[in-house]
Symmetry: C2
Subunit: 356 residues, 2 copies
Amino acid sequence: MPEEKLRRQRTGRANSSPTLEDVAQKAGVSTATVSRCLNAPARVSEATRKQVLEAVNQLGYAPNFGARALAAKRTDTFGAIIPTMENAIFARGLQAFQEELEQNGITLLVSSSSYSPQLEEKQVHALIARGADALLLIGHDRTPKSYDLLESKGIPHVIAWSIAHDVPRTSIGFDNRNAMKTLALEVLKLGHRDLAVISAPREGNDRARERCQGVADALIQFGLRPTDLPIIETPYSISNGAEAFQTLVSSGNRPTAVLCGNDVLAAGAISRARELGLRVPDDISITGFDDIEIAQIVSPGLTTVHVPHRKMGIHAARLLIAMRNGEYGDAPAESLELQVTITWRGSLGPVPLRNA
Amino acid sequence: MPEEKLRRQRTGRANSSPTLEDVAQKAGVSTATVSRCLNAPARVSEATRKQVLEAVNQLGYAPNFGARALAAKRTDTFGAIIPTMENAIFARGLQAFQEELEQNGITLLVSSSSYSPQLEEKQVHALIARGADALLLIGHDRTPKSYDLLESKGIPHVIAWSIAHDVPRTSIGFDNRNAMKTLALEVLKLGHRDLAVISAPREGNDRARERCQGVADALIQFGLRPTDLPIIETPYSISNGAEAFQTLVSSGNRPTAVLCGNDVLAAGAISRARELGLRVPDDISITGFDDIEIAQIVSPGLTTVHVPHRKMGIHAARLLIAMRNGEYGDAPAESLELQVTITWRGSLGPVPLRNA
DNA sequence: TTGTAAGCGTTATCAG
DNA sequence: CTGATAACGCTTACAA
């Protein structure tokens, strides 16, 4: 009797989970057959399949993840690195991304980089080491080493929330610069000439940078000097938005319209405006970007750029799955640009009369 | 020459990552030594350690996750299942949880159950199959099978956002019932007698249930009949909160104070109040629960129950790590009850004169 | 301090 | 359609 066969009996494993071999023994077939039953049911006869499934249920068998990953060379796990989980900016998109992955039997691993490329680099490393088959990343700003890691390990990845016109990377998102320009043009059309911007720190954040450029573009189109545009940079948070707003309005020449790089900052601005006794939009207009839930509960509601979060998440998932499945060969998959729209609520109005 | 040694040379692996054996070969040591270098550096001499690390860097070696999991019987991955990622209720706590895990070299896997015990059961299964070493769960309401799975696989788990007085499960959180009672007592002390509640659906959500009971407790203490208390149940969302509020105030006898089961519902209520021309708190008082960021940007600010989100997350992580490391043997670790406080802003005021 | 070698539980290749 | 059996890459007694 070959000693291999004895192994199972000799070990008095107390607590551990049943293995493929246990199932095989119980069903009276080989481990190979059990494996096939679970992974390619079509390649097994009706009869044995039934027996095996029976055994699986009785034993409460669940495949061992590590063993499967090792043998199959894939984990069915994707990773996503987002700048922050603290506010809702990425929540809806990520949720949609996750749902789509789940429908395809893929688990999602999320981590947040706190808007730091250095931290993100560590997390790219960690997710790869963790066996992620593919990665979702936000924006284009990251360390060269992050890209090297992805490249050298051949990990499929897509970049969301941004599109790249000039780099050969698969991205899915929208044109931040043009979106903000469109909004700024509306502001200018309403007669405003003294604009100001509250932006997230632009370093390491291409979305923030592009949005600022969009405002500048609009100014230029109206024959105004973008160099005169006051820009305050501050990390995304409601209280930071409030502080920045106060700084702006207490400066020498108060703007008639404040364009915020994001709804969180704008919400802070609006609430501080009220505290300072400024009526929005009668005394000052405020706009946001993203159209997340708080945009509708501040008062007045925020006029903002509506971003198709869910659509972006779903498409990102499908793209990534296709890439992982090798459907694009080695060439990067084509990028996808989504359209954004402006949601009008009440925070943007005509320029106050005395400034017109 | 043993044929084992030949294996490495014979395979012409093109793209694949370097393995422990590659590193060992390059450093001129055994694979065991390399493994020790990485996992227990203290047990290796200074000199060889240096050589090995050198080789690791040159090759850009990163351990294979599956192999490691298989051999070590642990993945250094924890899972968390939260009811929702869409609003910020769990964001801060989860972020803190994650940070604490990360500092201990543990990766976090998150999934959301959409407040459905059935969905949660599937996710418990998925996370276990995915190799999670331990799990963070929210509240006590789940299917018996979920608990069975946890039990039978011996997966350490803690329950957050709730404490259990009577079940032998490790939990870390606060007393939802008593917290809400405290807040309701404040409302009553201000003269209100016509209260109403907007709650999340209580089925499958012990926090919601306990909070409602808390209001009832307070009424009883004031000699009022809890059966007269109108309760509207609706899923957490701003617009649902708004709708529920409108239903309440357009009913026959309008309450003078509306207690919401959570800040999201309360934010909806406040913004709808304004739209209906009701002044808060002059015409009607509104309270929340959680003290998340929107509580401070609605106007007036929300008087609400402040929950120590970060503290809860950090302690949950530490507890779970200790459990995973076997520091509690087989007995469940002791639970930890945190204290909550009331944050006063402006949405709760004295009862309107005509109702007093 | 270091090396040897036996697993860990799957998947996949090849025969039958 | 099914069964042997060789990987997969790492950890960990056990020896030296």
